[in-house]
């Protein structure tokens, strides 16, 4: 079976700086894959290329959905890529801070709903029904992610951990096939991290989502992932199961420095 995400020899240059260098990566359906590497390795840049925020200098990105349909993501606008089934969260939280928690998730439903300007003005039956459906669906997602108690709060007033969860909730509202999480546990305490671990597993098991995550918390990475990709200086330096990666001398060197 084809992997759900297939990235071939992707390069990204910022002026003279090569942030991504001939990177290959694939995520199979139903997998949890981790992308790790020291700060500045190019992990976020990789996400930005895949989600269309940056246009990669060279290389190919393909999405193969369950029905066996393949589409190239190269040159697509970010919103088109989201429509195709790729959703992401941001390392530096980017919530719609002046909107309520519910509204944040409702925005995520945008690409799966159709109400037009005329629908908004005349509020025909279809629009009203769709709107009710969006509210119900959004609240359901909040419950699933475990932040439904904040439903009417402004997003900016949420505690940090809940903000990270709201980012996930919002991404789920776009009905993705593959979820990209950029350091979802950053700034969380051990308890919150543990709950996040459970949430991610639950999303994979119950929703059939595939997940690619960037994370620094090694305990989380080792317990969660089916496979791990390790990057340094824009290149892939290792890949394999958690056990393989842990023993890999190249990885140890990259993390602990040359003199270890």
């Amino acid at each position: 079976m084809k992997p759900i995400l297939e990235v071939n020899k992707i390069c990204m240059d910022f002026g003279g700086l090569r942030a991504l260098d001939q990177l290959d990566l694939e995520v199979k359906s139903g997998e949890i894959v981790a992308l790790i590497g020291p700060n500045g390795a190019g992990k976020t840049t990789f996400f930005n290329c895949v989600t269309g925020i940056y246009a990669p200098t060279s290389g190919n990105i393909f999405l193969h959905d369950m029905k066996g349909k393949s589409s190239s993501l190269n040159g697509l606008k970010p919103n088109k890529i989201t429509e195709k089934g790729l959703a992401r969260t941001f390392q530096n939280i980017r919530l719609f801070s002046e909107m309520t928690v519910l509204e944040n998730v409702m925005v995520g439903c945008h690409c799966r709903s159709t109400a037009s300007i005329l629908g908004a003005l005349f509020r025909n039956k279809k629009t009203v029904q769709e709107e009710e459906e969006i509210v119900r669906k959004s609240y359901g997602i909040l419950q699933k992610v475990g932040i439904s108690e904040y439903v009417n709060e402004m997003a900016k007033n949420l505690p940090y951990g809940a903000q990270r969860r709201l980012e996930i909730a919002r991404a789920l509202a776009t009905e993705p096939l593959l979820l990209l999480l950029d350091e979802p546990a950053a700034g969380m305490n051990p308890q919150e991290t543990k709950e996040l671990d459970e949430l991610i597993v639950r999303l994979r098991d119950n929703e059939g989502l595939s997940i690619l995550l960037i994370e620094h918390d090694m305990k989380l990475v080792m317990s969660l992932s089916d496979r791990i990709f390790v990057m340094d200086y824009g290149r892939k330096i290792a890949q394999g199961t958690p056990a393989e990666v842990r023993e890999n001398p190249v990885v140890i060197k990259a993390y602990l420095g040359d003199d270890s």
């Binding site: 925020i53 606008k77 980017r94 719609f96 309520t100 925005v107 945008h110 037009s116 300007i117 439903v151």
Partner: protein, 401 residues
């Protein structure tokens, strides 16, 4: 101890002000007599004045901070939102306002009614610009261009073909929307300050074209003798038609409030706000940035086009001088003063900004000064606008049982 501290701070502020204003307030050189006059009493006045103002300002700020810290804040905010949301509280108020609006032309002179009509026109303009600036967060300084498009649309069609006002009204709206899209395209990639500068340029370009393209727009002399709106074929005196226009404007205001309200609490409205809050996250949610921006420009410009037609019909004369940057600035001030993104805010902002200068004509010398002072005070104490963020948001309640 704190009081002494504040007294001390205010004292230094006063000293500082006395020093700053010394050259203009105290020294006066009489060039005829060739002597220097020292007006020490002015210095004393400046000192006392700034001391008191500074103390009052500090006092207000302490109170605000205290309120923010204590639980009371919850109650104050609750009261504020309930005033605007709870039907029991606002229905009587609304009824009173409606009554006042209805009988206004009979209570006040035709002159006053005319001013009120102007204020109502600015409410609609503000509501339109509010879509672009308040909701979608696109700082548009050339909004007056669409106003001009509407006005010239009616003026020219009426002049050449005798087109009636009622046909021109939807046409002006449509043309406004069209220009919104056309002018929106080139600025799609711009944001913030750059967007502001380019839209300002567009506004000026439209005005300059109207001023210089004599064959088309009759240049600076403009177009006169435009027909007033005809209401059901009734022959009306000038006064009657002013009153009729007032009622028509009331209807248009209600209509646009209704429409804008529906727009902002819809799928498209959420997309606008998301775009304002974070462009990248907005796109990552699957929202088409280009389409969302263009609809904001188009739907914002629609109202300007419509009010433009009404303006031409009301004054029966248009020329480019009515569509300067100052006009854009006033409409923008209405949105900012009232509170970005809030419909009630725009209504209040328009009434304050249009009516206040009219009624301050008595103090015409100080009018702009007062106007400026109000704006500065607003920015210091209520940067979120008079009404602030009372956008109706979705309050979710779980169904019981």
């Amino acid at each position: 101890m704190i009081i002494v501290d504040y007294l001390k701070k205010s004292f230094f502020v006063a000293i500082w002000f006395m020093f700053l204003t010394f050259p203009i307030m105290v020294i006066r050189v009489d060039s005829i007599e060739g002597i220097v006059e020292w007006r020490w009493q002015n210095m004393l006045l400046v000192g006392i004045g700034s001391f008191i103002l500074s103390l009052v300002g500090r006092y207000i700020r302490i109170k605000q901070e205290k309120a923010a810290r204590s639980v009371q804040k919850g109650r104050v905010q609750q009261l504020k939102s309930s005033l605007l949301i709870d039907p029991k509280m606002y229905l009587p108020g609304l009824a009173l306002i409606s009554l006042l609006v209805l009988v206004f032309p009979f209570l006040f002179s035709v002159y006053q009614t005319n001013i009120m009509t102007t204020a109502l026109m600015y409410i609609v303009l503000g509501l339109g610009l509010n879509i672009v600036v308040g909701l979608a967060g696109l700082l548009d300084l050339g909004y007056v261009a669409f106003y001009a498009v509407g006005a010239y649309c009616y003026a020219l069609l009426n002049h050449h073909f005798g087109l009636s006002f009622w046909l021109a009204l939807p046409l002006g709206a449509l043309l406004g929307a069209l220009f919104g899209i056309v002018l929106g395209f080139p600025v799609l990639r711009l944001r913030g300050d750059y967007l502001a500068i380019v839209t300002l340029g567009f506004g000026e370009i439209i005005r300059l074209v109207l001023e210089n393209w004599n064959e088309f727009s009759f240049g600076p002399s403009g177009i006169a003798n435009i027909d007033r709106p005809n209401f059901f074929g009734i022959d009306m005196s000038l006064n009657e038609s002013i009153i009729a226009l007032y009622y028509m404007m009331v209807c248009l205001v209600l209509f646009s409030i209704f429409m804008v309200n529906r727009l902002q609490s819809s799928r498209i409205g959420r997309a606008w706000i998301a775009l304002r809050e974070d462009e990248i996250a907005c796109q990552a949610m699957g929202i088409d940035k280009t389409k969302t921006k263009l609809t904001a420009f188009a739907l914002g410009a629609t109202w300007a086009g419509m009010v433009g037609v009404i303006f031409a019909a009301k004054t029966t004369f248009v020329n480019p001088a009515s569509f300067t940057f100052l006009e854009s600035a006033i409409i923008l001030s209405i949105v900012v003063l009232g509170g970005m993104g809030s419909i009630v805010g725009v209504v209040v902002g328009a009434l304050v900004l249009i009516l206040l200068p009219e009624y301050l004509r008595a103090f015409s010398d100080y009018r702009m000064l007062l106007f400026g002072a109000i704006m500065v005070i607003m920015m210091v104490f209520r940067p979120q606008g008079i009404i602030g963020n009372v956008r109706k948001s979705y309050l979710f309640q779980e169904k019981k049982g």
